[in-house]
């Protein structure tokens, strides 16, 4: 698999049924990026909103990619260490999300003039992205299946890690475009009152995931909302199960061009065998 395949796989995930799996991330990520950008504008009208948006987006995306990639590098000691403590890390992440939500809503105030506070607020985007990555339990797409096959093996983990980064960048390219579109709409809101309303709405969305993580109720969200979309009438899994699946159809479900002969030997320890 090339880097382009991995990137395309990430982009494609947003235009397929897997977008519903990504609903574990999208609303909360977008809420943070828009909310924090509007907050900065309200705190200091001289702030250029799109510059602020770019910074918030870059920080949150970086935080997500770093943690999601470490979690995926199952052949490494770092991944094993993180997995061993993921439950407590998740709880810390949820508290960070809640604090950021309250800050965006205006309930938790910081002195925005202080350089230290400004840097802290900016870096908090990294923590937000990391917290969302800890909570994200993906449904493993075919492209991701191939990549995880590489990350399991000591010989191939570096290559797998690179592909995983590029795959996630592909996903976040689309999510970022979505966030930019929504921010453009939000910036049309007249006056600080309307903007504050949007900020509060964003904070409520963020508080929702924080509470779900803290109370271990993400299953409810995934099961009823995400599962509700996945199991819509017309998406008959039982028929899919009993039919002889057409390989060409599966190729259409995932646009990456892969060497299936070699791929069949992947994902059992990541040893990529010669055909």
């Amino acid at each position: 698999m090339s880097l382009i395949d991995a990137f395309a796989g990430g982009v494609h995930a947003l235009f397929s049924i897997w977008i519903f799996c990504l609903m574990q991330v999208i609303p909360f990520f977008v809420a943070y990026v828009i909310g924090s950008t509007l907050l900065e504008r309200d705190q200091d009208p001289s702030v250029k909103p799109w510059r602020s948006f770019g910074m918030n987006l870059a920080m949150a995306t970086t935080g997500f990619i770093v943690v999601f990639t470490i979690m995926g590098l199952s052949a490494t000691a770092l991944s094993k260490a993180l997995f061993a403590h993921v439950s407590i890390a998740n709880q810390f992440g949820a508290v960070i999300i809640a604090l950021l939500a309250l800050h965006i809503a205006g309930a938790l105030t910081l002195d925005g003039k202080s350089t230290a506070v400004r840097i802290g607020a900016r870096v908090s985007g990294l923590a937000l992205g990391a917290a969302l990555a800890l909570a994200y339990k993906p449904c493993v797409t075919p492209t991701l299946t191939y990549i995880y096959g590489l990350t399991q093996g000591e010989q191939t983990v570096a290559r797998g890690g690179l592909l995983l980064v590029v795959y996630t960048v592909g996903e976040f390219m689309v999510i970022s475009a979505l966030a930019a579109g929504l921010l453009a709409l939000a910036l049309k809101a007249k006056g600080p009152g309307a903007r504050k309303g949007i900020r509060i709405a964003a904070a409520v969305v963020m508080m929702a995931i924080s509470v779900m993580i803290l109370t271990n109720k993400m299953t409810i969200y995934k099961g009823f909302l995400v599962g509700g979309f996945v199991n819509q009438p017309g998406h008959d899994h039982s028929q899919m199960d009993h039919s002889k699946m057409n390989h060409d159809n599966m190729e259409q479900m995932d646009h990456s061009q892969m060497d299936h002969g070699a791929m069949d030997h992947m994902n059992h320890g990541g040893q990529e065998k010669e055909k």
Binding site: F20, T141, Y146, D241, M250, N267
Partner: protein, 211 residues
């Protein structure tokens, strides 16, 4: 006449003059901040306490590790434990109803079990990250005739090191993990290496016929 008050920012510099009631607003805001931070600290302390008292240690298993003890409640009302599956090669298929790839892999898991039946290959569907109702729905959708764990799967998956669905774990008759397959099983061939690693040599099913 409007009353004003002098403010001071966090870095000690004099701030702008504000209306008199702004002082009480600042005080109120500080109290709210303290309250929020105290609440956050309390939640974190509770999380640390829960973590230190947790009954199960999460661990990413490697090839060669024994499958850990488990206690699972099955769809049919029975219970399953590791002991009950010792002595036969096993596939543990971790799934969630909300995950489309979990659904779409079932056809190949079923085929693997049918191919390996003569060699005693068993399978356990282990539901995770979903409600019991949805995990049962998954079993009904696919008319599964295999053991399906609808409770206890999350604890088991934490001990095996599984955080994504679907994941297939290949365990040999000695209860030793031989291989993992993480992700959607698009083709039966993707399971072959895993099956070979757990099937007794020369047994039917050791080299299943291609799809």
């Amino acid at each position: 006449m409007t009353m004003t008050t002098q403010t001071t920012s966090i870095d000690g510099q004099a701030g702008p003059e504000l209306p008199a009631d702004a002082g009480s607003k600042v005080d109120f805001s500080r109290k709210v901040n303290r309250l929020i931070l105290l609440a956050a600290a309390a939640v974190l302390l509770n999380a640390v306490y829960d973590y230190s008292a947790r009954p199960v240690e999460a661990k990413l298993l490697d090839q060669g590790d024994p499958i850990p003890e488990f206690s699972l409640n099955l769809l049919d009302g029975g219970q399953a434990s590791r002991q009950g599956f010792m002595g036969r090669p096993m596939l543990y298929y971790f799934y969630a109803n909300w995950c489309p790839c979990s659904h779409e892999s079932v056809v190949n898991i079923r085929k693997a079990v049918e191919e390996g039946k003569a060699a005693g290959l068993g399978v356990m569907f282990v539901g995770i990250q979903d409600s019991r109702e949805n995990l049962e729905k998954f079993a009904r959708t696919h008319k599964l005739q295999f053991p399906v764990a609808v409770e206890g799967g999350q604890m088991f998956s934490d001990r095996v090191g599984i955080s994504v669905t679907p994941t297939t774990v290949f365990v040999d008759s000695a209860g030793v993990v031989q291989s993992f397959f993480v992700g959607k099983v698009e083709r039966f061939g993707q399971l072959e290496d895993g099956l070979k690693s757990i099937m007794p040599q020369g047994q039917p099913g050791a080299t299943p016929s291609p799809a």
